[in-house]
Amino acid sequence: MTGLRVENLSYAYGARQALDGVSFRVEPGTFCALLGPNGAGKSTLFALLTRLFTAPQGRIEIAGHDMARAPRKALRRMGVVFQQPTLDLDLTVQRNLSYFAALHGLRGARAQARIEAALERLEMPGRLGERVRDLNGGHRRRLEIARSLIHHPKVLLLDEPTVGLDAATRRAITAHVHDLSRRKGLTVLWATHLTDEIEDADQLLILHRGKLAQDGTARQLRGGLGLADHFLRLTGEAA
């Protein structure tokens, strides 16, 4: 069973083709980085992967479940960290997490145990009573990652999750998610335009003008060049 599989996915906004025949696979336990300049189609791909809207052409499979035929099964196995913050700032950490748990059908002691375990993993135990507004940017992001894991997804999608964070926090969060994919066998798709978040052993997808320009490990693709230089050469734009 594959973690994430995308076949021949295309999408157009009127006359503008945002995605054009994109196909790739990400195996379980793999950290896959999706790199692309602005306007490459990353946001559209994420919107389709999270079923914000559906594509007339192509196929998406999450942990073996077809997004078009069994959307609820597919969504149940998927965790998402959106680029925009989606926490309710005026509610406590506890309220935010139990709201999410309930949206996934979890309640009571079972939900609570999962919430506490998720916070523990992200090194944020004992913060349940704090208002989200009082947390710093890094902790809010950690909280969103903890939240995305409450329902034990098989596939984790993160859309530029480190935007606006300082270098140390960025590194810590990137390392943590790499660790999750290795230790928990989680399939991770990490969209970014920052090449320093990608490790050599990671699978790398380079999206350019709606098409998948390259798919391989970062080490293979960059050859002798630094990843930023390779990306720049390929897309003709600064990473």
Binding site: T50, R51, R72, L75, V80, L103, H104
Partner: protein, 264 residues
């Protein structure tokens, strides 16, 4: 099924907490109808004579006549407010969180609708309690009979807001909703004047008022306050509520992609 109910409880709780957190919204929601009741109705009391038409069995003062319309106004404004928060949620991203829940999308929309209706109904009762201070009271039976009328009326107006939220791209467009939906719906209804009074000025105006679903919601509330059932109004409210809910579900259908522009 427990998963469905868990989502309903969580969405209702979130809406309630948000509402409590926004005290200004609560006060505004009550000040608006109270102003109409105390200032507008007092002025019109002398100018407007009301004949005895059902459900009224005796002569009625204008401030008593206007109360069901103001209850409707609370439901209408709240429905729109909830729709506004849907648009806000979409801009802020928390809508995406809701829509990636593995529950059917129509159910998630219904949960939002039920939650916002519950809050609207609570406000209507607080308004009616305040009206008592100004000497406007109904029978206990009327207050009890009102609840089953407020539910379909609130759901219908909430569904309208939901349908609108699926097509409104940005918060800025919301001012248009005020001008083109809320005001015409409120003023072209039986909230402020009875149909026969409208007919005195124009037959067309009366016909528009009669088919306005908001009029039907107001009449449903008016009859319920006197423990009478207005079946035609109920049917009209349910029918328009279903149409709008259908439109909302259609608007939020991922295949239709009406919300895709917001995602770009």
């Amino acid at each position: 099924m427990t998963a469905w109910l868990a989502a309903l409880a969580a969405i209702t709780q979130r809406e309630a907490l948000r509402f409590i957190g926004q005290r200004g919204r609560f006060v505004a929601a009550l000040v608006r109808p109270m102003l109409w009741l105390v200032v507008f109705a007092a002025g019109f009391r002398a100018a407007l004579g009301l004949s005895i038409t059902p459900p009224y069995a005796t002569y009625t003062t204008y401030e008593v006549y206007i109360v069901p319309g103001l209850c409707g106004m609370i439901l209408l404004f709240n429905g729109m407010q909830s729709s506004l928060s849907m648009v806000y949620d979409r801009e802020m991203g928390s809508m995406r969180l809701l829509l990636t829940s593995p529950l059917p999308r129509w159910w998630l929309l219904v949960c939002r609708l039920l939650a916002s209706t519950a809050i609207s109904i609570l406000q209507v009762y607080v308004f009616l309690a305040l009206a008592v201070i100004f000497g406007i009271r109904f029978g206990w039976g009327g207050y009890a009979a009102l609840l089953p009328a407020l539910v379909p009326a609130g759901l219908m107006l909430g569904a309208l807001g939901l349908a609108l939220s699926s097509v409104i791209r940005q918060l800025e467009n919301f001012a248009g909703v005020m001008n083109f939906v809320i005001f015409p719906m409120f003023f072209l209804s039986t909230a402020l004047y009875p149909l026969w009074k409208m007919a005195e000025s124009s037959a067309l105006l009366r016909d528009i008022c009669a088919v306005n679903p908001f009029s039907q919601a107001v009449e449903l509330i008016r009859f319920a306050l006197y423990q009478q059932q207005n079946t035609a109004a109920l049917a009209w409210v349910l029918l328009s509520g279903l149409v709008w809910l259908g439109l909302a579900v259609w608007g939020y259908d991922p295949a239709r992609g009406l919300i895709r522009k917001a995602a770009k």
